[in-house]
């Protein structure tokens, strides 16, 4: 008896709540007139994409569009595809995606094209099915820069390893490819000890992998980490083993997160761009396209920089070095 009564009450309350839902989304008509530009990131609730969202929100006010950000709870390609497909059915004006898996998104992008929805990507220059990809760095230069910095600290010979977020993250692997090519040409005495390790989006795992690498390759002198949690995890392992400075760590990091490790000397150099600029640029380009304007060389993305158009890839150079001295000045 007791059980049934409660079940009924719950069901009724739930039903009333569902009926009342449309009330919460009020004012739909006014919003409709604005362009609906949605940014879909790899994963929600991590600092990198929280910062990107700030750019999306700023664009919403500056450009007077209805722009917002969505993303799966973990970096799962399938979930991301689902979100994009839902947006296509909803009929938004433009979708900007930071892909988890470039291939997995292709069918959804084709569908969007049929419906006339603009597709922009970020961190995926070779993406099929996009209108434009926007890069805030020159990816070749970005990859090489990591190796240049690695060599600056560890010397131009010795053993090193590479962390990536996962083996399907387009940009991490592109940087690694470019860096490895550069190393072959310029630093032939560098020796990569093992294939790239997919741990850079998990600090605990990065720490563990670093510990293991130190035992498997006692002569290890450096780690290049792509994915914002790889370098801090590696730095922590070095700290615990008392090896700070003996093994060089360079890579992509969130300044606020890496600050203690950079200052303690457990990590040497951070490299990235400000994701807020990415969020802003994506929305800005989407609006330009929706209003029928063409993107051309030399155009100015307000507050970010000058456009360097390369086919369907829009490059705006905004690479930043993070050092122990400037790490506190980034504001994120």
């Amino acid at each position: 008896m007791f059980n049934q009564k409660w079940l009924k009450v719950t069901l009724i309350v739930g039903f009333i709540f569902l009926l009342a839902l449309p009330l919460f989304g009020g004012g739909g008509k006014e919003v409709k007139e604005k362009y609906e530009i949605v940014t879909v990131v790899k994963i929600t609730g991590i600092p990198w994409f929280n910062r990107l969202e700030e750019g999306v929100k700023q664009a919403a006010t500056d450009l007077d569009v209805n722009s917002y950000q969505l993303g799966p709870a973990d970096a799962d390609p399938a979930q991301q595809v689902k979100i994009v497909e839902d947006l296509i059915s909803k009929g938004v004006d433009a979708i900007c995606v930071v892909p988890n898996d470039a291939k997995a998104l292709e069918p959804a992008f084709a569908k969007a094209k049929d419906k006339g929805i603009i597709i922009l990507t970020h961190e995926s220059p070779d993406q099929k099915g996009k209108d434009y990809d926007i890069e805030l760095i020159d990816n070749v230069e970005f990859g090489r820069h990591h190796w240049d910095k690695l060599v600056e600290f560890m010397g131009d010979s010795g053993e090193y390893a590479i962390f990536v977020g996962s083996l399907t993250v387009p940009l991490h692997n592109l940087w690694a490819d470019e860096g490895l090519k550069w190393a072959k040409e310029k630093y032939p005495n560098l020796k990569l000890v093992t294939k790239r390790i997919p741990c850079g989006e998990d600090q605990e795992l990065s720490k563990r992998k670093t510990m293991e690498l130190l035992k498997a390759y006692p002569n290890l002198k450096g780690i290049v980490g792509f994915g914002s949690l790889g370098p801090p995890g590696a730095a922590q392992a070095l700290k615990e083993k008392g090896l700070c400075g003996k093994v060089t760590i360079v890579g992509t990091v969130i300044p606020g997160h890496a600050a203690p490790y950079l200052k303690e000397g457990c990590m040497q150099w951070g490299i990235l761009w400000d994701p807020k600029d990415a969020g802003y640029s994506l929305t800005w380009v989407a609006k330009e396209l929706l209003e029928g304007r063409k993107i051309s060389d030399g155009m100015q993305v307000p507050g970010v920089g000058k456009v360097d158009l390369d086919g369907d890839v829009i490059k705006v150079d905004a690479m930043a070095d993070i050092t122990p001295d400037n790490v506190d000045g980034f504001g994120f």
Partner: protein, 331 residues
């Protein structure tokens, strides 16, 4: 000897020994105290979660929400100690209190609505995690207090390698050891523990035998919640970063380790020793792969193979036993 061969644990242990021998031949640094202490420290987080999951599985239920419970406990703990200060004991109390409360909510839902445990806990996982993300906005916390950082560095004893690298029994590892001992005593030597096994074997039989199902179920889920809370704290100690998305998603890794250790998804079966072996096997597989210099591309293939191998051993043994049993009946 014959008796030993009847236990699933024997086979897992056998696989562990064979695998360890192979790794050691390829890289002798595997079988060093330094590596041992490093591995048990790294796996104390998974290990504590696994203790909680063992209890639920034995009781005939399943809990998926424990990763969300761990995350919420960890986040609440971190926010409170930063805002109001405190010491390691307040941190422990906070994480434990949040864990137990969320576990009690699970138990209440399961008992009163009588919904299958897997559905209930999938739902509560989403609710707990969802509310946390809404309130926190997914913000990470790096600036943990100095005493919190210092506590994580404590070693009960310290040794030194030839190269001058220090290692030893970390305080974090000893939390895991303590938890295992307490859990073992409960399961093995208390009426409550026997009740958990009885309930997992057959709910009705347990009720008729006089076990208080309501109280036992409340205990099981709040205990799993407590373990999740402690694991959340331990994970924060390990990485010194509190990120709301870093634990959720690891449910299956933990459940796999426990099932590998012999606990049955059908309930009534399982031991803590088995669970420890399951976690150990997963741990040395990951550790050993890198130490054997196997390319990371191959990890998943090997992990799958070894799971099948170790389960197949005991499944085969059970099957032959079943065959024999039928033969006796026919006679």
């Amino acid at each position: 000897m014959k008796n030993l061969l009847k236990h699933h644990e024997t086979y897992v242990l056998l696989v562990i020994i064979i695998f360890s021998a192979i790794i050691t031949v390829i890289n002798p640094r595997f079988l060093t105290l330094e590596n041992f202490f490093d591995v048990v420290k790294s796996y104390s987080f998974i290990g504590i979660l696994a203790v909680g999951v063992t209890f639920v599985l034995i009781s005939g239920g399943i809990d998926i929400s424990f990763t969300a419970v761990a995350t919420v406990a960890q986040y609440v703990m971190a926010v409170m100690i930063i805002r109001y200060g405190g010491n390691i004991f307040t941190a422990f109390l906070l994480a434990a209190a949040v864990g137990i409360s969320l576990g009690l909510i699970n138990a209440t839902l399961i008992y009163f609505f009588n919904i299958p445990t897997i559905i209930t806990t999938i739902a509560t996982l989403n609710i707990y995690y969802g509310i946390l993300i809404v309130i926190s906005g997914g913000k990470w916390i790096y600036a943990l207090p100095g005493w919190f950082r210092a506590f994580a560095d404590i070693r009960l004893f310290t040794l030194c390698t030839d190269e001058g690298i220090k290692y030893g029994l970390s305080i974090i590892t000893s939390i895991w050891i303590l938890v295992v001992i307490i859990a073992w005593v409960i399961l093995r030597y208390t009426k409550l523990g026997r009740g958990i096994y009885a309930m997992g074997g057959s709910m009705n039989a347990a009720r008729r035998a006089g076990f208080n199902i309501f109280r036992t179920q409340m205990f099981v889920y709040s205990f799993t919640g407590l373990m999740a809370g402690l694991a959340g704290l331990v994970q924060a100690l390990l990485v010194q970063t509190v990120a709301p998305n870093s634990i959720v998603g690891k449910e299956l890794d933990v459940i796999a380790a426990v099932v590998l250790g012999g606990a049955s998804l059908a309930g009534g079966v399982g031991t803590l020793f088995g669970t420890i072996l399951g976690v150990t096997l997963i741990a040395i597989m990951s550790n050993g792969m890198t130490l054997m210099r196997v390319s990371s591309f191959w990890y998943n293939v090997f992990i799958g193979l070894i799971i099948i191998l170790s389960v197949a051993f005991s499944a085969y043994q059970r099957r032959t036993k079943a065959k024999r049993a039928i033969a006796v009946e026919v006679e």
